[in-house]
């Protein structure tokens, strides 16, 4: 049942200032070329090991110059840099009120 206060999106699509909570890690990332499943598993584990885990609070702090890439993300109490492409393996959601605040 869809929750009205809840919409999930890939972290790679979030703009600077976005705040939310991680709801899923290890979402398959579309690749330029076909690639083995191990790659997504490897990415999932590396993301988990550096602190991207379901339930963690995130905030996009900074964006790079070209195409807003890479992004600097606050994950709980640390900061991590990530390319948007890999960030798409992470699904985040912001309660409507919180996302309206951060965008307004």
């Amino acid at each position: 049942m869809p929750d009205p206060d809840f919409h999930a999106m890939p972290l790679g699509a979030a703009k600077k200032g976005y705040r939310g909570v991680i709801v899923a890690v290890g979402f398959p990332v579309p690749r330029e070329r076909p690639i083995a499943d191990e790659f997504n598993e490897e990415l999932e584990r590396r993301l988990l090991e550096i602190g991207f885990v379901e339930g963690a609070q995130i905030e996009i702090l900074h964006e790079g110059l070209i195409g807003g890439d890479p992004i600097a993300i606050r994950v709980d109490d640390m900061s991590v840099a990530l390319r948007r492409h890999e960030a798409n393996a992470i699904l985040v959601s912001a309660p409507m009120a919180a996302s309206a605040l951060s965008q307004g």
Binding site: I50, H62, D77, R83
Partner: protein
């Protein structure tokens, strides 16, 4: 290591990157450390030894910073196997000291719990407790230790007394230690990692309080340093200052080193009987090693800034800013610093690629490092430019000689990116690597730790110069001096030597790119270091070491096409023996230096060929 008994107590230092593990290792072992080499492995792992306060001799194994024991490459798996005792000639560690950054505990605690599953006893060294305290972070150590089931000890790696408690704990542990268990390890599944994170989250909620503004200053500084415009501007400014320092601060020291080696060479020549021995000492060993060691001041200044900025936390930001800019050709944000170092000399640049943890990206960076115009090429460039390019101004204000110089630098950078792109496209196709990097909070660097690291780098460089490079120098001297000139010879002696013979033999190959036999001969001793080719040219033209008259001589003897072709050749300049020997050393294989030499030679040949023929065609 010879005096330490084989059954000495062994412990391993494991920790996240930026946790201050290197500083702790340095504080524990002082100068008694060395880099361990496993065959075919490029990941750096250090061994150190210490005598504990209780008089025990101990061996410390230092592993590269990591978030997991899993190992992202076969190389990292080897260092893991080293502490698990799965390598043939090494016993498992008796104890693992997991070093944790007290200001950022979450990931360290997860790693500590993963280490615990191996069966090897673990101690958690809570490092940088002073900084955590200053930021208002409180940690209930007793509670934490109970919760995770691991002894926890506070350390301050950059203070002399900061490791006292850890040393005492090591003694106590070694005292009680009996037979070590056979460790086991299995790769944690994603769900196991998740479960550990949930557990850690509860532990942190219970034992750690972090005020909301604990990293206020880091966030404020990042608002400028990570800003898409101001951040890049600051980066450019920082680079400009580093370059200024590298080239201006080191000049007096470089002049002194050069004068010292010249004096030593002269002394040997006047005090030893004239002959092969004096020539070997003066022209081979002293001049050859001197021509490389002269870069030591530049390397020390460069490493001082790099390590200072790394310890401050800025290098991760530089990688962030540069990642997309150089990432398009398959390089990593972290490739940026090694490439920057290569403008001084490719040797420290290649040594600095150890910060890149992905093997393919590290190799790509190593392979293109020699395309950055190192300072050894400057004498060659200035000689030819001064002799052939008129000192006039384009449109009244752009100096033509300056334009050519800039063009040569730019040609190197552009070809480096092209080469990296081709490697990505054909050699390592389809395997793009993720860029995932922690941005550590800024910390005031400890000058003691920075100084110690700079000295270590300098020492490693001298070791290279003293071993691999020295033997190359002797070989090159041998080629350039043996056999000597026959009785009544009119040409310079080098013409009759093996270098002369090889140069003459190579000449037909080099004639299509406009090189005369004098250049062909000079390229052989130029293998010692690129700038040696200038001195060698003077020798071939029998002029002595006067570069002014050398310029006039080549201006009279060479066509413009030849001169420009030699410049084009030097953009790629494959013939640096020191670089090749360092590549062999760093990659632990002959494959990569050979590949590097082959591709650089091919590019140099094609570039010189095209330059020569276009110039000849235009000027005819």
């Amino acid at each position: 290591m010879s005096t330490w008994p084989a059954d000495a107590f062994r412990f391993a230092l494991v920790g996240n990157p930026n946790c201050g593990k290197t500083a702790l290792f340095n504080m524990l072992t002082g100068k008694r450390q060395k880099v361990a080499n496993y065959p075919g492995v490029t990941v750096e792992s250090k061994r150190g030894r210490l005598v504990s306060p209780g008089g025990r001799k101990m061996v410390v194994v230092d592993l590269p910073g990591t978030y997991s024991l899993r190992g992202r490459s076969p190389d990292e798996a080897v260092t893991r196997n080293a502490i698990l005792g799965q390598l043939a000639d090494e016993r498992a560690a008796d104890l693992i000291v997991c070093v944790a950054d007290a200001t950022n505990l979450r990931l360290s605690l997860r790693l500590a719990l993963e280490l615990k599953t191996t069966g090897i006893p673990v101690i958690l060294a809570l490092n940088m407790v002073d900084i955590a305290k200053a930021r208002g972070i409180t940690i209930d150590i007793v509670r934490l230790s109970e919760k995770i089931g691991i002894p926890v000890i506070s350390t301050i790696a950059v203070e002399k007394d900061g490791t006292k408690a850890l040393l005492a704990a090591l003694d106590t542990f070694a005292e009680q230690h009996r037979d070590s268990v056979q460790p086991s390890w299995h790769e944690q599944s994603a769900d196991e990692v998740r479960a550990t994170h949930r557990f850690i989250n509860d532990v942190i909620t219970e034992c750690v309080t972090i005020p909301p503004n604990a990293d206020l200053w880091t966030r404020r500084i990042d608002n400028v340093l990570l800003h898409p415009f101001w951040g890049l501007l600051v980066l450019l400014l920082v680079l400009f200052l580093i370059f200024q320092a590298v080239f201006s601060w080191s000049t007096p020291a470089m002049d002194a080193i050069k004068a010292g080696f010249d004096f030593a060479g002269g002394w040997v020549k006047t005090h030893l009987p004239h002959g092969m021995l004096a020539s070997l000492l003066a022209d081979g060993i002293i001049a050859g090693v001197g021509s490389v060691i002269v870069f030591l001041p530049q390397i020390l200044v460069l490493f001082f800034f790099i390590i200072l900025l790394e310890d401050f936390g800025y290098m991760a930001r530089a990688a962030f800013l540069m990642d997309r800019i150089i990432g398009g050709v398959g390089l990593h944000g972290r490739s940026f610093i090694p490439l920057l170092s290569s403008f001084a000399c490719a040797i420290p640049g290649i040594m600095a690629t150890r910060v890149i943890d992905n093997r393919r990206q590290r190799l790509a960076t190593i392979l293109i490092a020699p395309l950055m115009t190192c300072s050894a090429r400057i004498p060659v460039y200035t000689l030819i430019i001064a002799a052939f390019i008129p000192n006039t101004h384009l449109y009244g204000f752009i100096n033509l000689q300056g334009v050519v110089m800039f063009g040569l630098y730019a040609a190197g950078i552009v070809s480096a990116f092209l080469v990296a792109w081709v490697f990505r496209l054909f050699v390592w196709s389809g395997k793009s690597e993720p860029f995932i990097m922690e941005l550590p909070s800024y910390k005031r660097p400890s000058l003691r730790s920075v100084g110690m690291n700079v000295l270590q780098r300098g020492f490693v460089f001298l070791q290279r110069a003293g071993t691999t490079i020295l033997s190359m120098m002797v070989l090159i001297w041998f080629l350039a001096s043996v056999p000597g000139a026959p009785e009544g010879a009119t040409d310079p002696a080098i013409n009759y030597s093996f270098a002369g013979i090889i140069g003459h033999a190579l000449h037909p190959l080099l004639a299509p790119i406009g090189f005369n036999w004098q250049i062909a001969v000079a390229l052989i001793p130029g293998m010692a270091a690129r700038e040696v080719a200038v001195g060698a040219l003077a020798t071939v033209y029998a002029l002595g070491n006067d570069e002014g008259s050398l310029g006039a001589t080549i201006a009279a003897n060479w066509s413009l096409g030849t001169a420009l072709a030699l410049l084009a050749w030097y953009v790629f300049a494959p013939q640096c023996a020191s670089t090749l020997s360092v590549v062999r050393r760093e990659t632990n294989s002959w494959k990569w230096p050979i590949a590097m030499f082959a591709y650089l030679t091919a590019l140099a040949y094609v570039a010189a060929f095209v330059t020569f023929h276009i110039t000849e065609w235009l000027s005819s």
